[in-house]
């Protein structure tokens, strides 16, 4: 196996998980920063359209490191997803592939099912729900909850904060309900 092929391979959970965990002390040691991604969305609101909404009238420049962090995530996505793209289809449970075939989603050739996430689909009811409504729920829900998977489930749990455990349990409960009960209906549209 060549060097490039080795670098294109996806990482197992026991490599990726501890590395994600290490970003917690990394950011703390760099400057007392708490890992969290969703607050960058609030920053974008405060920076772009603060207009008289008290929630966005704060000194966002103090927390500007978050914008640098998410810009880095974008660049990291390019490095790993484009430069070192895994040429092989993602290996998922065959049961899931069978189920999704039933909804006409197709095979998992790519990270996302291209049949659902594309520009034409944005203007269909199904695609609108998947991309626009789904995204809205992510932004609205994380801010109401005060954090997302990184802020609550990684950072909060790492610091043994029980409210972050409550949030994480609700993330999972909401996800289980949506994926098993509602999403099949959406996918049949």
């Amino acid at each position: 196996m060549s060097m490039i092929q080795w670098m294109q391979r996806p990482w197992p959970w026991y490599v990726a998980g501890p590395l994600i965990g290490l970003t917690v002390p990394l950011l703390l040691v760099m400057g007392n920063k708490n890992l969290g991604v969703s607050s960058s969305l609030r920053q974008l609101c405060a920076a772009c359209l603060p207009a008289k909404v008290p929630f966005f009238q704060y000194d966002w420049k103090k927390e500007v490191w978050q914008l640098f962090f998410v810009a880095g995530i974008l660049a990291g996505g390019f490095i790993a997803g484009v430069l070192l793209q895994n040429p092989r289809p993602i290996q998922v449970n065959p049961r899931l592939i069978e189920e999704m075939k039933g909804y006409g989603v197709g095979e998992p050739f790519d990270v996302l099912p291209n049949s659902l996430f594309n520009w034409k689909m944005v203007f269909t009811l199904k695609g609108f729900i998947m991309m626009v409504v789904g995204g809205f729920l992510v932004g609205f829900g994380t801010r109401w909850a005060g954090g997302c998977t990184s802020g609550h489930s990684i950072m909060g749990l790492s610091n043994l904060q029980w409210p972050s455990l409550v949030a994480t349990i609700c993330f999972m409960a909401g996800g289980f309900f949506m994926a098993n009960v509602v999403l099949p209906v959406i996918l049949k549209i």
Binding site: W13, L26, L74, G77, N93, M131, S153, I154
Partner: protein
């Protein structure tokens, strides 16, 4: 600020390489069809707990010499209601906020729509904040 950019690069590479940015992996997780996501999140949390324990035990300071104070999280009802709503969005889009940025970087340009919609969701939360239970 370059150090935070570089930490983000690292974080983005891990998110893509571990496939946690994948809609398929998220669907597997919510159907209990694979251990992968549980392994990633679980081992990340264990590593994080150990790291913060070491930082506290040895009173490790920041590069600037300040004492390290990880954030505490007070309880509020939004963690339940907002948590459930985010869970719905996570299962539909297959992405939490970090992966949204990573996916756009990885060339899935249509995810810009999802990201902008997430910013809009955050904005609407800001507008309605006073009327929502906390």
């Amino acid at each position: 600020m370059i150090k935070y950019f570089l930490s983000g690069v690292l974080f983005g590479v891990i998110l893509v390489k571990s496939e946690v940015v994948s809609w398929w992996r998220i669907q597997e997780m919510f159907r209990l069809e694979s251990f992968h996501m549980y392994g990633v999140i679980g081992s990340a949390v264990v590593t994080g707990i150990l790291s913060i324990w070491i930082i506290k035990k040895f009173r490790i300071r920041t590069w600037g010499g300040e004492p390290i104070v990880p954030k505490t999280v007070p309880f509020q009802k939004g963690q339940i209601f907002g948590g459930l709503l985010f869970g719905f969005g996570w299962a539909i889009t297959g992405a939490c906020p970090g992966p949204l940025f990573a996916l756009i970087g990885a060339g899935f340009d249509v995810i810009v729509v999802t990201l902008l919609s997430a910013v809009a969701g955050t904005y609407v939360y800001g507008l309605l904040r006073e009327k929502l239970p906390h």
